[in-house]
Structures are given as structure tokens and as C-alpha cells.
């Protein structure tokens, strides 16, 4: 066993096998389970009907995020404000009741550390290297940024994990995304992952767990790594991983739910043994040249539909696959774009800075850096900044970033999923465009008829200033 070199994924998998079955599936132990209001009510109801308890409430953490409005949650006297939409209110109330009923730790809507589950997990030190982490949300892949095997599950699996703390799984294939060279100035982790999704395609990683490798990740912040791993699902991979290192350990040390003292030291010693062994084999390998990546934007209705900001809307005929040609035609009709149109000529009316992909402090700093001393363009009707958690919000306010946003004409909101997914009041109106730091540009994703252009936080800020998709590197050259 010890003689064969193993990948990071294989090491985490091997450590978590409860038992292997004759048919090749394995019962895998789950170390951490994040729960939110949208995909859990039916799971709790099923437990109740069968009179089953939650096996490990201590390994479970519940946070509302998806349909919580991002406007003020309490009035001046500190009383909670009602939620206007009755369905959202019922779903949020269900989580608030289910968590204590099943003994689960709950960070509520007005708690100072409430936020998007995928921001809260690492921030609380709940997400740890080498751990198996699940959540009823496909962007759970994000936690791979701290070296955890983390993936999204459906509600039946949520029920399965609540009841048994395990999942019955078949081992995935492994895919290496090897990034050579460094990113240029103004090119961020978001641009890198958008570019990678463009190269791999939305189904390229299906059946695989991706490991992102290369020197660029060694110098990348943990926030950036979380952004990269977050969008693994956009390349079809249920999970993405980056090997944990000293940066990871420094990020996690002292967090509320992280181990401490002798347990911390023991943990670090094991975490150091996790990186992929020299000579380990991947089932698939993709090589990316980081030096060739520009700030990247999406043009279509699939996250694989990306071009450099200096590029143009592609012609459907430029794709070899006839079905992709059809898809591109439909995308362009939906997006209201013409082949050959330069991306920098695309005007936008809305800007969204937030989501589990890009709402951490580093993202807000990058956006504020561009907006400092500038104003949003007259054509930009709606521009909001939604911090990923209450702790991010407090940190940003301590740094005065909220003032920068407000002075630039953007709204500063309460933490939540917001305009990423059209489930709460934050929506992009039909037919309008949004420069968005979120992860999906699907038809109707930000609201019926909404047109999404996926970008980095700095690029979203640049678009807010000019009212069109803009190369942030050009903008920051000019004095504010």
C-alpha cells in the first residue's frame, strides 16, 4: 500500500473508507456537513417521519443563506424584520426550527458570523484539510481550497448523511489541471478558473475529481484557492482540490472551530503528508499556460463560454461541434449579442459583487481598489456589493471599504447568496445585463430573462465605472 504513490484525492479517500462492498462501492465517512435552508427541509422531514436522529450533530453546521434577503434584518431597536416572501419565510423558519430540534449548531440570520455556507465553513475553521465535507449545494467544491475533499449532494444524500454520517460512493477518476507559469498583473484566480472551465468544458470533468497543481497555487492566497475550487463543478467535476500548505495552516489557525494545542500540531503533521506523491498517476491531465491568460469574461449561457476581455463574441460557425453551434446561436439570441462584437463594446446596466465564488475580504479589497475615488457610470442602474459573511462585512467596514463602495454609488448589503441565483429579492431585470462575480451564467439564473457576464471582482468594479465590460488593467492606468 505504502509503496504505490498516491494522489491527494486517493489519500483522503483511503482514510475515509468505512467498508468496501463487493460491487466496488464504498461507504465513506463524512467529517463535516454544512446545511442551508433550501435543500434540507425535505431531508429533516424524512428523518422525522422515520423517527431517525441526526447521528453526529457535532459534525453538522447549519446556516441560512440562499433566500435570505440582503437588506437590513433588524430595525433600529434591534427587532427582527419579517421576510416579505411567505415561501422564503417558511423555508427559513423550517431551518431555524430543525437545527435545535435535531441538536445542530446554527448560525442564524442575525448572528454576527452568518454568511454563505461556503464562506462560513473555512472562516469558522469548520472546513479542514484532508476532511470529507458535503453540503446540499454544488459549490461545496469550494472547500477543496483548504485541501478538503468537498462536494455537493442532493437532498436524499443530505438525509443519508444526517442519519448515518456516511455516503455510499464509487471512487472518482482523477484529473490533474497543471498550471504552468504565473498570472500577469490584473489577472486573478477568477480569471484563471473561468479560463480553465473554458478549456476543460462543462462536461470535461464529469466523473473526476480535479487537483489543481503548479507553482501559481503556491503563491495564491487561500481566498483565491477557494475561488478556483468553487467553480470545479462548472467543469463537471464534483470536487476540486489544492494541496494544503503553510498558507492553509496559517489561514485556519485560531479559527473558532479549528483544533488547537496538541491536536493542532498532530493535525498539521498529518496534513503535511497529504500532498500528491511524486510519480502518482492521474487518469486525465490538462496543461494550462497561465502567462497567456487575460482578464476573462463570459459571453454565452454556459460557464464554458468565455473569451479574454480583449476578444470578441465568437461566431457560432467557429465551433466544430454542430450541437455547440446550435447552442451558441441560442445563447447569442438570449444574450442579445452579435458575432464579432467586441466584448469591451458590451454595455451593462447591473453589477453584482458577491457569491460563494467572490465575496471574501480579498475580493472586496480588489473591487474597492478599482472603485476608490471613482463613480459608477450613469447607465449602471443597480450595483450591489454583498459580503460573504458578517465577519467579512465587519472586516471590510473596519478597512473603510464600505465607504469606498457607497461613495462610488454602489449599495452595501447584508451577507447572503443574493443575485447569484434569483431565489431572493436580488434579481437582474429581464433583458438587462449584469457584470457578475458569481459562478453561473445559465438562462434565467439571475432572474427570468437576465443576461449574465461572469467576471472577477476587479473587472466587475471596472464595468461599474465605465458602464460596459472593461479591461481593468486599462482603467487603473488612468488616474481616478
Amino acid at each position: 500500500m505504502a509503496s504505490r504513490p498516491r494522489t491527494l484525492y486517493e489519500k483522503i479517500w483511503d482514510t475515509h473508507v468505512v467498508e468496501t462492498r463487493d460491487d466496488g462501492t464504498a461507504l465513506i465517512y463524512i467529517d463535516r456537513h454544512l446545511v442551508h435552508e433550501v435543500t434540507s427541509p425535505q431531508a429533516f422531514e424524512a428523518l422525522r417521519v422515520s423517527n431517525r436522529p441526526v447521528r453526529r450533530p457535532d459534525l453538522t453546521l447549519a446556516v441560512p443563506d440562499h433566500n435570505l434577503p440582503t437588506t437590513a434584518r433588524t430595525d433600529a431597536a434591534g427587532n427582527r424584520l419579517p421576510i416579505a416572501d411567505p415561501q422564503s419565510a417558511a423555508q427559513l423558519a423550517a431551518l431555524e426550527a430543525n437545527a435545535p430540534a435535531f441538536g445542530i449548531r446554527y448560525i442564524g440570520a442575525t448572528d454576527a458570523s452568518q454568511g454563505i455556507v461556503h464562506v462560513v465553513g473555512p472562516e469558522q475553521g469548520f472546513s479542514l484539510p484532508g476532511a470529507t465535507i458535503v453540503c446540499g449545494d454544488s459549490h461545496t467544491a469550494a472547500h477543496g481550497g483548504v485541501g478538503a475533499l468537498a462536494f455537493g449532494i442532493g437532498t436524499s444524500e443530505v438525509e443519508h448523511v444526517l442519519a448515518t454520517q456516511t455516503l455510499l460512493l464509487r471512487k472518482s477518476k482523477t484529473m490533474e489541471v497543471r498550471v504552468e507559469g504565473d498570472l500577469g498583473p490584473g489577472v486573478t484566480a477568477k480569471d484563471l478558473i473561468l479560463h480553465i472551465v473554458g478549456v476543460v468544458g462543462t462536461a470535461g470533468g464529469t466523473g473526476h475529481v480535479i487537483e489543481y497543481r503548479g507553482p501559481v497555487f503556491e503563491t495564491m492566497s487561500v481566498e483565491g484557492r477557494l475561488t478556483v475550487c468553487n467553480m470545479s463543478i462548472e467543469a463537471g467535476a464534483r470536487a476540486g482540490l489544492i494541496a494544503p500548505d503553510d498558507r492553509t495552516f496559517a489561514y485556519l489557525k485560531g479559527r473558532p472551530l479549528a483544533p488547537s494545542g496538541a491536536d493542532w500540531d498532530r493535525a498539521v503533521a498529518w496534513w503535511r503528508s497529504l500532498p500528491t506523491d511524486e510519480g502518482a498517476q492521474f487518469d486525465k491531465s490538462v496543461v494550462i499556460d497561465a502567462t497567456a491568460i487575460e482578464p476573462t469574461v463570459s459571453w454565452g449561457t454556459s460557464p464554458e463560454d468565455v473569451v479574454p476581455i480583449g476578444g470578441s463574441v465568437p461566431a457560432p460557425e467557429s465551433f466544430a461541434d454542430p450541437s455547440k453551434q446550435d447552442a451558441a446561436r441560442r445563447s447569442l439570441a438570449y444574450m442579445g449579442l452579435e458575432p464579432g462584437q467586441r466584448m469591451t463594446d458590451v454595455s451593462i446596466e447591473n453589477v453584482f459583487i458577491g457569491s460563494c465564488t467572490n465575496s471574501r475580504i480579498e475580493d472586496l479589497r480588489a473591487a474597492a481598489e478599482v472603485l476608490r475615488g471613482r463613480r459608477k457610470a450613469a447607465g449602471v442602474k443597480w450595483a450591489i456589493v454583498v459580503p460573504g459573511s458578517g465577519l467579512v462585512k465587519a472586516q471590510a467596514e473596519a478597512e473603510g471599504l464600505d465607504k469606498v463602495f457607497i461613495d462610488a454609488g454602489l449599495e452595501w448589503r447584508e451577507p447572503g447568496c443574493s443575485a447569484c441565483l434569483g431565489m431572493n429579492p436580488d434579481k437582474v431585470p429581464p433583458g438587462e445585463r449584469c457584470a457578475s462575480t458569481s459562478n453561473r451564467n445559465f438562462v434565467g439564473r439571475q432572474g427570468p430573462g437576465s443576461r449574465t457576464h461572469l467576471v472577477s471582482p476587479a473587472m466587475a468594479a471596472a464595468a461599474a465605472v465605465t458602464g460596459r465590460l472593461t479591461d481593468v488593467r486599462e482603467l487603473v492606468k488612468q488616474p481616478a
Binding site: 462501492t25 467529517d31 431517525r52 433566500n67 444524500e157 448515518t164 466523473g207 472551530l257 453561473r440 438562462v443
Partner: protein, 200 residues
């Protein structure tokens, strides 16, 4: 879960590629706390287009959906499987499925059948006017025209579907093995529980 042995009847000839779960069931339908009634929201954006297959009376209540490559990509929402079930769909045939969707479908007794693109193309053609039949026991898809396509399925999933087994119940029967693992983990990797214990 209701046992599933065969699915026979009209098959909705949809065929589009990379259909994401936002298309199968848009987010605003996700604010429910039950599993029922989602069929009304299924393929809502597709249904705004005149002449779409989902509103064709010929396919009302059809138990089979024929789809394109990478069906069910994107969000992990199980509501996509519930919406199909609520429409009356018990089997989806496509060249490939996203991992999470295939798992969600299985857990709700919806059979996902992977066939090569040319066989899916043939079924799309036949389904326009004729029924399609899927037999899980023999792992075959047949048409009234002597087409007979064999498919692979995970033996465990096949067994569960045929018997209508509840996976949670099956795993709970492995309580001793799980307890044994937990005891070992507490000894060898205590840091996995000490952090969450101290704050509980």
C-alpha cells in the same frame, strides 16, 4: 421507494445538450418544503417557446424523457429529479448525465439510461410517433421496430431500483461498522472532533 422493473409508454423527444438543472427547475420553484407539485415548474423557460415538446398533448404524462449529452449539469438541486417524477417521468435516456443528477434521480426511483449518441438519435426519431420500452431486469431499451439497445447500470443501483430499497435504511443496518470507524478516527485523528466539540 416504489420498485421499478419496466417503463413503457410515450417518450418525450427533447434531446438538447448540456441541459442544466436551472432549466429543469428554475430557482424560484425551490422555495418549497415538500417534494410534491414541482412538475408545474419543470422546463418552465423551455415551455415559453411555442411548439415545445413538453406542452405537446401527445407527450402529456409520458413516463420517459429522451435527453442530450451532459443532462442535469450545474446545481445539485434534487428538485430536478422531483420535478421529473412529478411530471410522471420514471426514466431518462441520454448519452451522458452529470454525476449529481444521476445520483439524485436514482435515489428517487428515476432510472437514468446511458446510450451512445446514435442510439439516442434513433430513439428521438421513433419517439415522435411511437412508444418506447425500457426493461431494467434485462437492461434493454426496445421500440416497436425491432430496435434493441442494451445499457449498463451499476449493479447496486439496479438492485435498489428493482426492489424499491431505502438506502438510508440499508446503511443504518451497518451501524456497527460506522461506530467502529468513528472509534478509530477518534483515536487516530482526534482533531476532527475536538474543534467542534469545544464550541458545542
Amino acid at each position: 421507494m416504489e420498485p421499478l422493473r419496466e417503463v413503457e409508454g410515450r417518450a418525450i423527444p427533447y434531446g438538447a445538450k448540456n441541459v442544466d438543472t436551472d432549466v429543469i427547475i428554475p430557482a424560484h420553484w425551490l422555495k418549497t418544503i415538500t417534494r410534491e407539485g414541482l412538475g408545474r415548474g419543470a422546463f418552465e423557460t423551455v415551455r415559453t417557446q411555442p411548439g415545445n415538446v413538453f406542452d405537446d398533448p401527445d407527450f402529456a404524462g409520458a413516463p420517459i424523457l429522451i435527453a442530450g449529452d451532459n443532462f442535469g449539469c450545474g446545481s445539485s438541486r434534487e428538485h430536478a429529479a422531483w420535478a421529473l417524477l412529478d411530471m410522471g417521468v420514471r426514466a431518462v435516456v441520454a448519452p451522458s448525465f452529470s454525476d449529481i443528477f444521476a445520483s439524485n434521480a436514482f435515489k428517487n426511483g428515476v432510472l437514468t439510461v446511458e446510450l451512445p449518441q446514435e442510439q439516442v438519435d434513433r430513439l428521438l426519431e421513433v419517439a415522435r410517433d411511437h412508444p418506447v420500452s425500457i426493461d431494467l431486469e434485462s437492461q434493454t431499451v426496445t421500440t416497436p421496430f425491432q430496435d434493441r439497445f442494451a445499457f449498463d447500470i451499476d449493479p447496486f443501483r439496479k438492485h435498489c431500483l428493482l426492489e424499491g430499497l431505502d438506502e438510508v435504511g440499508l446503511t443504518m443496518a451497518r451501524d456497527a461498522a460506522i461506530g467502529h470507524y468513528e472509534a478509530r478516527q477518534a483515536r487516530e485523528m482526534p482533531w476532527l472532533v475536538t474543534g467542534t466539540e469545544k464550541a458545542a
